[in-house]
Symmetry: C2
Subunit: 347 residues, 2 copies
């Protein structure tokens, strides 16, 4: 039950230098890709390091180079919303593949509110815990970029923010548009949208995409219920939509968990999907494939997103600049939750 013995003392750059018969400085040069080391010397040094299984210590490096070799991700979310969100695990996996190869590590924080979020960013910066951060869940009026600029913390945002220096975006317009087209193609005219959080960029973008797609087909784009992306709110919004006078025949959800919850709410009220109501989701989560009927949803690739964002952040941190990247848009995969509208709907 005790952890008594000290960890074995690792070899240092001095050991390597001695073994290669050179000075510390040269070893450092080799490991930092500096020119001006004779090929033969370089080989000898690499051999020595390899023999000793030595690698430069990140902490020592941090001290002399002001680089943490770590990236940060601060997530501010309601526990309930976070728990049913399948995005993060896959996103993190993607981030890791890239950071790991680059010898970087991911520092993750989950915070409950905006104050904790700010404190976290400040201490990550003050302590030089990270060299840069990923910014997710963009707000439409996001205060974080000012803070990050003040802290001089390079950031890559997921989705484009007006004042982010680099971003990786996955277009949600296309997927929502395809969903509307799919439904309209089946004959639906009264299509509603259970939107996400309107204060968040992805919630808002999907909402606007819905309105645009509906307007483009001369359909009424007004049947929208806003939520906070939680399953509970998805169910609530569904109930409120079907209570309206002109009940919709189809609902486009801004996320799979909400669609699944909506399916539950409809089923509870004896409304058959897809015979009486068609549903589409967004994300392409595993569970969406296993509810009945299988959800028609927009498949996205969060792992690709993570890997791309990580590469962008590395570039930003190392080269001091990075671009705004666009990822291929999600695409609609028809399931069993969409069908023709019921033949005779009272207007």
């Amino acid at each position: 039950l005790t952890v008594s013995e000290p960890r074995p003392t690792a070899p240092t750059i001095t050991d390597v230098a001695r073994r290669a018969g050179v000075s510390k400085g040269l070893v450092s040069f080799v490991f930092n890709g500096r020119p001006g080391v004779a090929a033969e010397t370089r080989a000898r040094i690499l051999r020595a390091a390899d023999d000793l299984r030595w690698r430069p210590s990140p902490h020592a490096r941090t001290l002399s180079r002001q680089m943490a070799y770590a990236m940060g991700l601060v997530i501010r979310r309601q526990p309930a919303v976070l728990a049913s969100d399948p995005f993060f695990p896959a996103f993190l996996a993607g981030v890791e593949t890239v950071l790991g190869e680059a010898g970087r590590v991911l520092v993750l924080s989950v915070v409950p509110d905006i104050d904790a979020e700010e404190r976290t960013y400040r201490s990550l910066a003050d302590d030089r815990r990270v060299d840069g951060v990923f910014v997710t869940d963009l707000g439409r009026d996001d205060h974080r970029f000012d803070l990050l600029r003040e802290l001089r913390l390079p950031a890559v945002s997921l989705g484009r923010a007006p004042d982010s220096s680099a971003s990786v975006r996955m277009d949600d317009t296309a997927g929502i548009g395809q969903a509307v087209d799919h439904l309209a193609g089946l004959g639906h005219a009264r299509i509603a949208h259970v939107a996400g959080d309107p204060t968040m960029v992805h919630g808002w973008r999907r909402r606007v995409a819905f309105q645009t797609a509906m307007a483009a087909r001369d359909l009424d784009p007004g049947m929208i219920a806003d939520t906070d992306f939680s399953a509970a709110a998805g169910a609530g919004a569904t109930v409120s939509l079907i209570g309206r006078r002109h009940r919709p025949t189809a609902i486009v959800y801004a996320s799979d968990p909400m669609a699944i919850a909506g399916l539950g709410a409809l089923s509870e009220r004896g409304i058959d999907v897809p015979a009486e109501m068609s549903l589409t989701g967004y994300d392409g989560t595993e569970l969406a494939h296993h509810v009945h009927p299988r959800l028609t949803t927009v498949e996205t690739d969060p792992a690709l997103w993570g890997a791309t964002a990580a590469r962008a952040l590395l570039t930003l941190v190392i080269d001091g600049r990075a671009d705004h990247l666009d990822l291929p848009a999600g695409r609609l995969v028809p399931g069993g939750s969409t069908a023709q509208p019921p033949p005779s709907q009272p207007l």
Copy 2:
């Protein structure tokens, strides 16, 4: 688009010492809670530090104290399984609340396979990236503790492992037992279990708990289908169980996502829940509350688990020892997915 200016150079211990009119040594003593500093001097030093908004640099500390002020969590999971698992987000939130207060940070890794996992542990240890780790998803014959011992990396396991030095456990026996009792009380006799991964401790424990509870009631404990905890496998196991000659009238699932997928599979085959088949889940996830019928499930508290594990790991790292802790067991919360078995079942 450029991140040009260097981050503002933070004050150092030297600045604080100068401002307080003392030496660096004294400042260090004060910030490490060492005795032997005059009260008045100490106050002066604290004031100076406060004025300068100075805090000791973790990296510099790491170098001289061999402490990283960070904890690690390495998750090896199939992306699909991880994505539908609601446990981690809440667990992480719990961990963070404790680590944050203690000035520690969480280093997270998501790895695809066992080799990557080992490499990750090695580099976390070699680079002194973390002072200790959380070990989750215990295998019944878990190789990781040998590795961690070799690396001298203190570890707290989630669930008790024979060779872990500290652990935090949440009993699954009680919850599964309650589920069986609940079903038996409703009149079910042919109760099946869709188990988790039998090579993982929590999967195995729930499986054994099921068998024990069934045997205690003189019921046949043999109807078990093993899975890997994925939703897909949950659906598959469900299908195989209802295909058996003595079809069960109730199924106890080892997780909510599998129960939800099972519900989907049954629904697809026209089997009514709960009229023809009762289901129970495990975890108490948000989505489980919003499917129809609402899942009868075992509520657990992953955030509490995270906070407790974090406290244990801090203790282990700081004091060199920690205990095995037990958390209150999950408890069954009846929903709409359980009812009396159908009156006349052909044997």
